[in-house]
Symmetry: C2
Subunit: 475 residues, 2 copies
């Protein structure tokens, strides 16, 4: 697209919205659920439901068609059956409504001649009438600041994240995931079949959006490889792009074709692209969120050495393995630091070193603060992982007040000098443990300190952060 990017603003900050195709009675996914969500989220502009057989829907006046509206809205959400979409687009063209989100599916992705024909029609009407179209077959734009939250938490929270995705369900999951961890979304867009506007149009747009600090992209296929390459090279030095590539394998690619009708491309090419652009590659929802959280909340590391503060025997052995296998270093403490550790770490049942296995860090926040200071003072240490346990009866822990608030305070007091993350493993099939772990991680995250459910996930997120920082010269 050669459209100037400020031309995309009506998608995310529309004044008024027409919802074309709202079933009158039933509560179901489609125009009705979008209308309900906009109302629930308190969208401040006018909402125009279009239904030729209704005079009122959810207390709002309904209109038979776009032409009968009292004004031209600046966004249309099209929810009518696929066969009727071309006629709606023609009508948009006639009244000068250029920004359109087509929710409807039944185009290229179904693999029928009829589907392909309809999608070609969408493309040609858009071209002829100069329409800007998101979709079809997608969830469209999302912008909490505009109360435009058609999915997930209502009203959602604004924040540093921008999301571009070829999957509606994945977009929804990531916005919700980030929201639960206290990370807001500035703008998200689910682009579906990308018949008119594609991922790169929105990548260019979000690259220039000053409110967006991290761009998360889920992509199955791509038509314009060279353009992606140029855009990524331009954007990455200013903000990280965390990219999850679906259809990495042949079978995944086969499924992608049925999903959004695109081609997935060769994994070898993608690997070269990641290397040359500095785009951060991830391969699961969790890894995506983990990296986004690190980029959104942490300062840039100056080295790949990690100091691990924990408590619990054999677990420390495994933590070293895990970090090393993810590409980090686990440097031995300097002689001076080792001397200090030996003065306070109990000889029996603990291990003075890196990883540090010292129960006192779990129960005594001020002792923890001293250890953290020691870690920050080590020149070989670029980042810190703090492992916390959910106390259980079996551990014979004294009954003490929850040390979490003071522990968080210590990281802030010591200046959060080096990227510092927490890990709380609460996997174990036990619902009390799962709940306590989720809550404890959320407590850290909402205080602005990333917390992960395992050292493996923390280590990978830190490695992504380190790679980005060392490349972009921001370290």
């Amino acid at each position: 697209m050669e459209t100037p990017h400020n031309d995309f603003m009506p998608f995310f900050k529309p004044k008024h919205i027409a919802i074309v195709g709202v079933a009158r009675s039933e509560f179901r996914f489609g125009g009705m659920s979008f209308l309900q969500k906009y109302l629930e989220a308190g969208f401040p502009g006018k909402l125009y439901p279009i239904n030729p057989k209704a005079s009122e829907i959810l207390g709002l006046p309904a209109y038979p068609n776009l032409a009968s509206l009292p004004e031209v809205p600046d966004l249309a959400v099209v929810c009518v059956a696929a066969a009727h979409v071309p006629a709606v687009l023609e009508e948009c063209g006639r009244i000068g409504l250029r920004h359109i989100h087509i929710l409807t599916s039944g185009f290229n992705e179904v693999g029928t001649e009829e589907g392909r024909r309809l999608e070609r029609q969408v493309a040609s009407i858009a071209k002829e009438k100069g329409l800007l179209i998101i979709g079809p077959n997608c969830m469209g734009p999302y912008c909490p600041a505009s109360h435009l939250t058609a999915w997930g938490a209502i009203p959602g929270a604004s924040g540093p994240l921008g999301i571009i995705s070829q999957s509606g369900s994945i977009t929804q999951r990531l916005t919700e995931y980030a929201y639960s961890l206290g990370i807001g979304t500035e703008k998200a867009v689910s682009i579906g079949n990308a018949t008119v506007l594609n991922s790169l149009d929105f990548l260019e747009f979000m690259g220039e959006d000053e409110n967006i600090k991290v761009i998360a992209v889920y992509l199955e296929g791509l038509q314009e490889g060279g353009r992606f390459f140029d855009l990524a090279r331009r954007i990455v030095p200013r903000k990280p792009i965390v990219l999850w590539k679906g259809g990495q394998t042949e079978v995944g690619a086969r499924t992608a074709a049925s999903h959004t009708g695109g081609m997935a491309g060769s994994q070898a090419i993608w690997e070269a692209v990641f290397r040359q652009t500095g785009v951060t590659p991830v391969s699961s929802l969790d890894e995506w969120m983990d990296a986004v959280m690190a980029f959104a909340l942490l300062p840039r590391p100056r080295g790949r050495g990690v100091f691990i503060i924990g408590g619990g025997g054999g677990i420390s052995v495994v933590y070293s393995d895990t970090c090393i296998l993810e590409g980090l270093d686990v440097p031995a403490p300097s002689p001076a630091a080792m001397e200090r550790l030996l003065q306070t770490v109990p000889q029996s049942g603990s291990i003075a070193g890196n990883p540090l296995d010292d129960w006192q860090t779990l129960v005594d926040a001020s002792y923890f603060g001293n250890i953290l200071e020691l870690a920050y003072g080590e020149p070989q240490v670029g980042m810190v992982i703090v492992d916390r346990l959910i106390f259980r009866k079996a551990f014979h822990i004294p009954d003490i007040p929850d040390p979490t608030p003071q522990t968080i305070e210590q990281v802030k007091q010591k200046g959060h000098l080096k990227p510092t993350v927490f890990t709380v493993d609460s996997e174990g099939g036990d619902s009390d443990l799962a709940l306590a772990g989720t809550n404890l991680r959320a407590q850290f995250c909402r205080a602005g300190l990333p917390a992960y459910p395992s050292v493996k996930r923390a280590a990978r997120a830190l490695m992504h952060l380190y790679r980005y920082s060392s490349r972009s010269g921001r370290s």
Copy 2:
């Protein structure tokens, strides 16, 4: 050890136990907490607390030393400080008490000359007096059938699992984890420094224990490589050995040395050992539990092709990638199966194929049963993954009764012909979601159907199962 293995039974099924070194007043980890746990678990034999300064502890008569006991117990748990351990062992020798668990730490693992000297003393007294010793520096034996549960859930549950571990905390985590998922433990042992009895002595013992169907081992180091090799070759054809090797990296190995004083060995050698013996290698607690659950609950697969039944757009694309990258196949449906799918799978918003993306499988158990039957009938399909969603408001799901019990029933009705597992992803920082997911997974697991928190983890567990089955000729 050349001891006959039935000689280990007093460790797991002792008639009476002496606990040497029980602090009188304070509740703390050590002799006192072990005594409390045995009482709480309803250990049916006599418990003899030894403390020269007490006449009664927790309502039980206390004795000044082993020699003053009214009878010779068949197990001693030694909890006195390291320096006093040799004297206790001498006393054991004098009264003919041969089975000893030394809980105390402060030996080789602390790296001091004194620690090493004490450990050498333990070894030489054991040799001289013919003592069988677990430890020092460990949690010792665990056997729910004997109410001998010194850690974790009380009283624990008996089941198909045997555990041998060089880490007390890891042993505890795995027994609790398995218990929460409805998988009981026949015997577990935390061996610590393994001065006298080592992992291999217990591997040989558990290999012959008919009640144990799966052996889970956490190992940091090993002295007798050849013996491990021979044992594994003998045991693996009869039951799987799932081995987590701590100290895989140089730093991990350095930490292992501080942990239990052993040497970790070369990773290259270990890889060859895994290949040649058929031992299943894992590298985290989760992967360990996931594999154990698959081995404990599933029939053996006849092929590596997996059919994925799910619902939710882009997610299916990613599921294919994930399974393929773990080594499984995701075969396209046969023409006959595809024809059947196309008759019932909605054209719009769903994907007929493998992975199958069809919302109806989530809400209609009898429809799900038909799809399952179709999958079982496909010759290229060896295993089935069923992805379930935690319904959320955003999904616009009709308010229906929970389909889970009927869904479980369908797997059983269709004969569970091929290994069938469930996946319920509930990660997202949201505590309601985490709780609902943990509970749903537990519901499947307790019905005897493995459930995993992600397709990645399910795929890896199934790949371990497939590799074992195709090797051992049990497929």
